[in-house]
């Protein structure tokens, strides 16, 4: 099963997966910072929900990472 294309596949899976996740986290931070600028008193709740949402977004990249690890070490 081992093929010389495996590293390419793993790198592609992680790289493309990270694109979406990175964009998502950037958009999230953008929204959170804007609402912070408009409403600085709401720092606590905004920060908490931002971190939660970032964790969800990051999970997509983590799926890609799991796939990349699977390609590299298991397949």
């Amino acid at each position: 099963m081992a093929s010389e294309w495996q590293p390419i596949g793993a790198a592609l899976s992680m790289g493309l997966g990270a694109v979406g996740s990175g964009l998502g986290i950037g958009m999230l931070a953008n929204g959170a910072l804007q609402s912070l600028g408009r409403n600085p008193e709401a720092r606590g709740p905004i920060q908490q929900s931002m971190i939660l949402a970032i964790a969800f977004t990051e999970a997509i990249a983590i799926y890609a990472l799991v796939v990349a690890i699977l390609i590299l070490f298991v397949l």
């Binding site: 964790a55 999970a59 983590i62 799926y63 990472l65 799991v66 690890i69 070490f73 298991v74």
Partner: protein, 414 residues
Amino acid sequence: MFFKPKIILILSAVLSVLVISVLGGALGDSFGFGFLGGPMPFISIAAETVFHISSPFSYDLKNSTIMLWIAMIVIIILSWLATRNMKNIPSGLQNLFELIFQFWIDTADEAGGKSARRFLPVVITIFLGVLIFNWLGILPGVGSIGKVETVEEWVHHHSHSGHCADDYKSDQTLAELCVLEEEHNHGFVVFDTSGSINLMPLGRGETTRAPLSAIGGYVPEDILQIKKKIKSGTAPENINEFIQIQKNIHDGKVINLYTKESDGSISPQSYLGKNTGELIPFFRGASTDVNTTLAIAIFSMIAIQFWGFSSLGFKGYGGKFINFSHGPINAFVGILELFGEFAKTISFTFRLFGNMFAGEIVLISMGFLLPLIGMMPFMGLEIFVGMIQALIFSMLTLVFGVMAVTSHAEHEDH
């Protein structure tokens, strides 16, 4: 003020640790230092077997299972200490636990009103469990203290992976060479002794993996020739040497390994007496095993389905998924939601597993690249990620529970 002896002492200590760690790690390795360089870690997705019993039933004790038991003991002791003599005005551990419970009661009230408080036993159980699993998994020593597995164990674990199965049936010698080629990425040497295949990972810790052909100075063709001679009954003149090589490999020792220089030439290097094999850690964070996270996810989803059925009734909750009375679009949406329930389980599983496993790999790689100091910032990150993942897992259970007990009719009123 910069010339105070204390400050100079601290600064020089920090600087020397920095220099030592940079030179001793993988970076310094390419300049000829690398004295702190640990072995290149072997990353295994499945939990490793620490202990195997075959009678009265076959059971592999995995290292993540041990960690799970330790985590259970820790949780039980912590809870016992916190509730041992409870006071009206809490202090210490009781205060911490009350803080956690108060946080969850507030969150539940916010998410689904007072009725959502009945989800809390499950939710807080998941929170405390996952939190302790995650945090115990990043303790120093977890994943790095272990034993080197023997050849027999290695064969036992890996021989079933089916490399060149067809060739194996037709020709043992072919199979041997085939596995030699197959496993060269992992640096495994394969020898065939009396019908059973022995596979041997090369010595850990070498920066350049020795080429397979360099084992004992023999290239695979030589070994093939020698084996053919043995098979046909004529002993070659160097049979004793060959037997010694086989014996050394079987004992977990590799002799006369050669390292490949950067210009392609091969120079001898003695690995005599060096133990070879993969490191099997005694402990492995419970949440870095996909079975643990899958078990928690299934538990959580069953609890959610139970809440849905018990509060909306069989017809009410089942109608969310199988619903033909409101036209084909609603029927399709219902089926999508049915699949969504399974997707939630998988998402639960891999979110926790992926985060914790990735954290483990980051820690391992930083220990490899920058020993002594490289791990420190990532340890802090892992403590944070461990808490966030526990929070997310239990928060999602709570939110999905609230969603499950909300009937469709209520939804449309909003």
